[in-house]
């Protein structure tokens, strides 16, 4: 989980991302960072998220939970 938040922080160009942080509140959150997040999740976890999947997600921890859930399927 820490590794996941670290990767998110890299993409969003911040020092740290916490589980409760709301993705849309980051100034760097846009279609480009969303695409980078989708690519990172595919590369690291082998999970393909769609834009619709992402739209339903608010916080970093909920995103991680979705990745784990999809990976388990």
């Amino acid at each position: 989980m820490e590794e996941f938040y670290g990767k998110l922080a890299e993409i969003l160009e911040v020092d740290q991302v916490n589980g409760n942080d709301v993705l849309e509140e980051f100034s760097e959150w846009d279609s480009l960072s969303a695409l980078s997040v989708i690519a990172m999740i595919d590369a690291q976890y082998g999970v393909n998220l769609t834009a619709t999947d992402l739209r339903g997600i608010d916080t970093a921890q909920n995103l991680f939970a979705l990745v784990i859930q999809k990976k388990g399927v």
């Binding site: 846009d30 279609s31 980078s36 989708i38 690519a39 595919d42 393909n48 769609t50």
Partner: protein
């Protein structure tokens, strides 16, 4: 579905790009986005320069310019080919076919199979497959395959989602029979349920162009585009490519009984650098085997990007020697297709500028 061919070759390739060059740095001011994010986009996607037609230039203009060049340089005789295929999504007219327009403008013979194919980013592959099929007929000695698009004319200049990457270009490929019995493997898949991922919503008969369809509308990211403009769902296209393309290449290589290591060049459609890097990573293909530099030099010209990748990166080698290449195109339709074949030695492989 799978195809196999043999005794076919690409005899020559000419790319035609507009002389008019735009740069992302100059265009940034048109976009409704912070400069920092636009610079990030430039870095990640590899946007820089792109070739855009200057004025109301049409597909037949680029094609006639290129064919005249081949006639004058002696690379192709006016009466030496029996089929003229034009693959485009930006035809001169609804009717007649652009291939007939070209035939008429150049005064080509009546014994000529002219055909337009409405295809986009997989258009080079579709064109090759059709050309190889036509060469089954003894009366078809050579096929002239033209891939051309001037889609900049259908993209909103205020759409950061599509305008920075769009490019106009044409290519002319000469296909003929050869003595080489080595099999050429190809495959192709289509999914029309996702046809709206890449679409020009208005201008056809479903939604004719009108003053309303010309009105610029703002999307959630501040991009301005009208229904008359090209609309791309970038994230959906990215997902499609990452999910469908690697298994397609695996199937192609398996059908050919070979491995990725044996392939000398992966010449893929060039949507942007980001998507190609992710594809290469996923397929474990070294970057040096997969050119990714077409968008930064010329822009994404739909079905012409594979010819541009060949001419820009391999022209000197390919007129002298043979390269085992894996081609892949993916996009509009949605359509995805790939082919494994030996490219070269070609009689010519060059690029000219349209002025």
């Amino acid at each position: 579905m799978n195809f196999t061919f043999s005794h076919r070759r690409l005899a020559g390739l000419l790319a035609i790009v507009p002389a008019n060059e735009h740069s992302f740095m100059d265009e940034m001011a048109n976009f409704n986005a912070p400069v920092g994010r636009s610079l990030k986009l430039k870095e990640v996607m590899g946007y820089d320069k792109h070739r855009i037609v200057d004025g109301p230039v049409c597909v037949s203009d680029l094609a006639c310019f290129g064919l005249e060049h081949l006639f004058e340089s002696g690379s192709l005789g006016r009466d030496d080919f029996d089929a003229l295929l034009v693959v485009t999504e930006s035809p001169d007219y609804f009717m007649p076919p652009t291939s007939n327009v070209i035939q008429g403008r150049l005064g080509l013979k009546h014994d000529l199979f002219c055909m337009d194919i409405n295809q986009g980013c997989a258009g080079f592959l579709i064109g090759l497959i059709e050309s190889f099929l036509l060469l089954e007929q003894p009366s078809v000695r050579k096929v002239v395959l033209i891939n051309a698009d001037v889609l900049s004319r259908k993209v909103s200049t205020k759409d950061r989602n599509s305008y920075p990457l769009i490019g106009d270009a044409a290519s002319i490929t000469i296909l003929e029979r050869s003595d080489d019995p080595a099999p050429i493997h190809a495959n192709l898949k289509m999914d029309g349920t996702r046809c709206e991922a890449l679409i020009i919503p208005a201008g056809g008969l479903r939604l004719p162009s009108s003053p309303e369809t010309a009105v610029l509308e703002k999307d959630s990211e501040g991009n301005l585009r009208a229904k008359d403009n090209l609309r791309m769902d970038g994230t959906a296209v990215f997902n499609f490519v990452q999910v469908e393309v690697p298994p397609m290449i695996d199937e192609l290589l398996a059908a050919a009984g070979t491995t990725a290591e044996a392939v000398e060049a992966f010449l893929f459609h060039q949507p942007n650098r980001f998507m190609l890097e992710k594809l290469a990573d996923k397929m474990k293909v070294p970057y040096e085997k997969m050119p990714m530099n077409v968008v930064e030099h010329y822009g994404n010209s739909s079905g012409v990007t594979i010819p541009l990748a060949i001419v820009h990166n391999l022209s000197e080698r390919i007129v002298k020697e043979s390269i085992l290449a894996c081609l892949a195109g993916f996009g509009v339709g949605l359509t995805w297709s790939s082919m494994l074949l030996k490219l070269g030695p070609m009689d010519f492989c060059e690029m000219i500028e349209y002025k």
